[in-house]
Symmetry: C2
Amino acid sequence: MRQIKHPTIEQVELTDIMYALADPTRLEIIALLAKAGKKLTCGEINLNRPKSSMSHHFKILRGAGLVQTLIEGTEHMNSLRLEEIEQKYPGVLSAVLKALTKD
Amino acid sequence: MRQIKHPTIEQVELTDIMYALADPTRLEIIALLAKAGKKLTCGEINLNRPKSSMSHHFKILRGAGLVQTLIEGTEHMNSLRLEEIEQKYPGVLSAVLKALTKD
DNA sequence: TCTATTGTTCTATATTATTCGAACAATGAT
DNA sequence: ATCATTGTTCGAATAATATAGAACAATAGA
């Protein structure tokens, strides 16, 4: 059961985070993950877009260090790396999440 | 002395803010404006890039509602719209600024 | 009026990103 | 083994962005 590689929190950079969050689709994904408060499969995050498009966005979110993906069987379980990001960049992600739920 | 048009705080959208902040040059501009704590001319924000490039980035920062530019004579005085943005999206901009000064 | 200063706009180019169908890989079930 | 499921990767088309030189506009000063 090979797992996907993620950046360590030390490797995470602010510009990558900002870039990843600068897309409406990815903000939706982030918002859904935060709202769920638990791991979600890609399939459960249904934004009516092709699989390949969603996969692309997940790749960017993972690369930025915002999302962690654990492979369990055929499913990919996604969760926010909220605590880690908060520790490295206090307030950034939580403030964005708060702003997202407001709209 | 015609002034430049800016979006009202009601017109400001989170995705525009995130997009504007997803560029290293623009983050530098934001950081310098915050550090200065006062209005700066475009010339005072010297990042060793052509005027036209800088103008482009200022245009995006203005369009996102992050920067206000007042024309005074031949100079354009730039300042952060920190209070307004903080009120609409509490913590977002201040947390990013804090993260920027850390690096 | 002529000139210098400040910054924008125009234009073109190179780079990068988004999108999505199709093929592929890994796992689980029959 | 075969097939269904889940999601990634590939490839190509399209769109958006950054960059920067050149021309331009607005103002101030001599």
